[in-house]
C-alpha cells in the first residue's frame, strides 16, 4: 500500500519537476527543480530495494554534480532570463510526443521474459550494499578501475579547461572596473 502511494507521489512530482527544468526560462529555477527531481529519483531507488544506488544518487548527483553546476553558475549571469527564439515548436512537441508514445508502447508490450534468468542473483539475508560490493569488486573490477581512471582524466580536463585565463573577469563590467580604479586613485 505504501509502495503504491509512494510510487505515484514520486512519479507525479518527478515528472512535474523535470517539466519545470525543461520549460523554465530562468537557469536558477531550472537547476533547483533538477536537484529536487534527482532527490525524488533516489526515492524510487529506495522503493526498488537498491539502497546503495539511492545513496550514490544522493551523494554524486545531488551533492557533487549539482554543486558543480552551482559553481559554474558563478561564471554565468544567472539572474537574467534566457531569450530563445524557437522556430518550430509544434514539430518539437510532435516528435517528443511520438517518441514518448513509441517508448511506452515498446515497454508496455508483452516481453518474452520467461527465458531470462539472473546472471548475478541477489542473495537472501545479505544487505544490498554487501551484495553490490561483492559483484562490483569481482565481476566488474576492470570497468570499475577504468571508471576511476576516466573520472581522474575528466577532473584534470575540467581543471585545465576552466583554469585558463582565470584572472580575466567573465561578467566584465567596464564601469565597475573604472570605479575601483577611481577609488584606488583617491586613496
Amino acid at each position: 500500500m505504501y509502495e503504491i502511494v509512494a510510487f505515484y507521489l514520486f512519479s507525479a512530482l518527478t515528472i512535474g519537476l523535470f517539466l519545470i527544468t525543461v520549460m523554465s526560462k530562468n537557469i536558477l529555477y531550472s537547476m533547483t527543480s533538477l536537484a529536487a527531481g534527482m532527490v525524488l529519483i533516489s526515492g524510487f531507488f529506495f522503493i526498488l530495494g537498491a539502497d546503495f544506488l539511492g545513496v550514490v544518487q544522493l551523494v554524486v548527483y545531488v551533492g557533487a554534480v549539482m554543486a558543480l553546476y552551482a559553481f559554474a553558475m558563478m561564471f554565468f549571469d544567472a539572474t537574467r532570463d534566457i531569450k530563445e527564439k524557437n522556430t518550430n515548436n509544434a514539430l518539437v512537441f510532435l516528435l517528443g510526443g511520438l517518441s514518448a508514445l513509441v517508448l511506452v508502447l515498446m515497454f508496455a508490450a508483452p516481453i518474452f521474459s520467461e527465458s531470462v534468468q539472473a546472471l548475478y542473483p541477489m542473495h537472501e539475508g545479505v544487505g544490498n550494499a554487501q551484495d553490490v560490493g561483492i559483484v562490483l569488486f569481482t565481476k566488474y573490477l576492470v570497468p570499475f578501475e577504468v571508471a576511476a581512471l576516466m573520472l581522474l582524466v575528466a577532473m584534470i580536463a575540467g581543471i585545465i579547461l576552466a583554469g585558463k585565463k582565470m584572472d580575466v573577469s567573465l561578467t566584465e563590467d567596464m564601469g565597475a572596473d573604472d570605479e575601483i580604479m577611481i577609488v584606488k586613485d583617491e586613496k
Binding site: V22, I27, V104, L151, V153
Partner: protein, 101 residues
C-alpha cells in the same frame, strides 16, 4: 493492484521523452546539459526497476557506471562551457554558430 515492472518503465519512458523534448527545444547550452541529465536519470530508473524485478544485480551495476560517466561528462562539459563563454560572451547556440554554410 500492485506496482509492476511496466509502471516503472512507463515513468522512465515519460521522463526520457521530457529530456528529449528539452534537447530538441532548448537553445541554451546549459539547458541542454540539464536535459541530458534528465535523460540519464530516466534510464537509471529503468535499470534499477529491471534489476529489482528480475532479481539481478547487473542493472544496478550499469546504473553505477552511468552515474560515473555523467559525473565526468559534467566536469568536462562545464569546462568547455566556461571556455565558450569566455570566447563568445553567450551560451546561446545561435550566437555560437560560427560555420555558415
Amino acid at each position: 493492484m500492485m506496482i509492476g515492472l511496466s509502471h516503472y518503465l512507463i515513468v522512465s519512458a515519460i521522463l526520457f521523452s521530457i529530456g528529449l523534448v528539452g534537447v530538441l527545444r532548448r537553445r541554451n547550452l546549459l539547458m541542454l546539459f540539464f536535459a541530458t541529465e534528465v535523460m540519464l536519470n530516466a534510464v537509471n530508473i529503468a535499470f534499477a526497476a529491471i534489476s529489482h524485478y528480475y532479481n539481478d544485480l547487473t542493472g544496478q551495476m550499469f546504473a553505477f557506471f552511468i552515474i560515473a560517466i555523467a559525473a565526468s561528462e559534467v566536469a568536462v562539459g562545464l569546462g568547455i562551457l566556461i571556455v565558450l563563454y569566455k570566447k563568445y560572451g553567450s551560451l546561446d547556440l545561435d550566437d555560437l554558430a560560427s560555420m555558415r554554410g
